[in-house]
Symmetry: C2
Subunit: 117 residues, 2 copies
Amino acid sequence: MDSFGAFVRDRREALRQTDRRYSLRQVAERIGVEPSYLSKVERGEVAPPSEETIVRLARELDVLPDVLLALAGKVSSDLLDTIRKRPLLFGQLLRELRDLPDHAVLRLVREVRDGDW
Amino acid sequence: MDSFGAFVRDRREALRQTDRRYSLRQVAERIGVEPSYLSKVERGEVAPPSEETIVRLARELDVLPDVLLALAGKVSSDLLDTIRKRPLLFGQLLRELRDLPDHAVLRLVREVRDGDW
DNA sequence: TGTATTGTGTACTACATGATACACGCTCGT
DNA sequence: ACGAGCGTGTATCATGTAGTACACAATACA
């Protein structure tokens, strides 16, 4: 269940092939955490870090923050804010969409994006 | 900013008009918290309770859990689960809908509910 | 009038989260 | 060969969350 740590380690080591600045220690320093902590995170010995730390890590490893947040099982705080502003409305919507297949939801996304809403 | 506590107190005292079993102490006992704690919650001296306690309180006061959860500024865990299952998809959707007016989102909800999705 | 019940103040607590601090032994490059 | 840099183990901590425990004064009521 620790896809997060494994993903981070893989990605970091991939970058390291061509750039020796991607050692665990140096990455830890650049994102502002202790090396021992990042070590534990990568091995899944501890839970994924906070949202802020995950975002800094994502930037450092040049991956989409959303991807890393998803692997960590976190819902990003801007989405939470979006829901909190209109909880009943978005609650209703999400429960309606919960059981629909991806393609149906995607169709909706495109419709909204392209349409004259 | 404590609409939660105020709402709970108002609702409880309304029920109490016709049923003396809605004293703070008795409600506290039925939902399984200390009276002093419920007192602090109602007066906004402390933050709203956990989701579980909020739901028990909602049942006791016969209001929709979603309403109380919304007043507490909490996003209910079943919605979080829904997003967590397909984070990129729902993330994209919510960001698309974030700035649309209520009626547009509602139209979407109805379209999905009534349509042949 | 007294006792049963009520709401509240003060003090404390258990547990989770998100880390830090530092020592240790290994390994890689010069 | 040896020192710089590496990853990791152990111990510890600060803050937040979600409450409990209990005494107390006011009130209601029979």
